[in-house]
Symmetry: C2
Amino acid sequence: MTDPDTVPEPAPETLPDSAETSDRFAQARTAQSVALLEDYVELIGDLIAEHGEARITDLAQRMGVTHPTVTKAVARLRREGLVISRPYRGVFLTDSGAAMADKVRARHRTVVSLLVALGVPPETAELDAEGMEHHVSEVTLQAFEAYLARQG
Amino acid sequence: MTDPDTVPEPAPETLPDSAETSDRFAQARTAQSVALLEDYVELIGDLIAEHGEARITDLAQRMGVTHPTVTKAVARLRREGLVISRPYRGVFLTDSGAAMADKVRARHRTVVSLLVALGVPPETAELDAEGMEHHVSEVTLQAFEAYLARQG
DNA sequence: CAAGTAGTGTAGCCTTGGCTACATTCCGCG
DNA sequence: CGCGGAATGTAGCCAAGGCTACACTACTTG
Ligand SMILES: [Mn+2]
Ligand SMILES: [Mn+2]
Ligand SMILES: [Mn+2]
Ligand SMILES: [Mn+2]
């Protein structure tokens, strides 16, 4: 490891073009791995606002999956510190979960608004935004907001 | 199945609000399941254009994954009829694979162009587009193109 | 032409996110 | 109060998409 004979990283001035490319794909993969968590916390927040609690069955219905799938997802959300839950009781957001829900909900609205502003029909905008939103970086989000602001 | 006693779909006028919601998530899941295939065929097309062939190692490097991961992906691409390949030979696109590659490449460029037109820095646009593109429907894509056209 | 290295294949492991089937708990109502 | 159905938990299956370790093939090059 510390052998001075080993070439110590030539520090290439011109990065091979595949380096940036692979970073791009890596970033998309990372975004995908948090996408489901984001959708769940947003939905849990919505259900709590509507009904005071988020039940497994309601989550399953709204997500369009079966209840064991939700149970597994909730286990992961717990591990990530985004929710708390006790058996046969509902699911509730932690502070960090609530913070994520707020950010995700705002971003969702911005993405939908942008698409609509560009002439996409509202139903289509809603459908596309549900997937796109998770790949919209902070910088891009601000560009969206700036555009919406100067449109009025 | 053909029993006339069974209620033949009440055809609810007002769909329950969770039905549309679950469809939205279902669509996002479907888009995600084809995202990787799309990125692979686009990349395979690029490599063939550059080097006359797409090798497993080059794909692995550009995707930022290891070569067994690529081998598995290629097996799925074969199953889906998008590529042909023989052991120790490169990977090549079928007609339908080439058609998908063309569509995906054009869509990728449109999404990047739109982001840049909205003021997103090119590097960020490239990063975000890599994930977003797979959730951009035909309708939304045309809205993007229309916007770019009237911008000039 | 024969090594040796680079490329490829294969086996087997893990996590995520789906599912079905079955067991258990909870709760509202008779 | 207690019972039955709805909600929840749990077990176990599958496919996809990552990985490492190891085996084998092919190509370059001395
Ligand atoms: Mn979403
Ligand atoms: Mn959303
Ligand atoms: Mn992509
Ligand atoms: Mn792309």
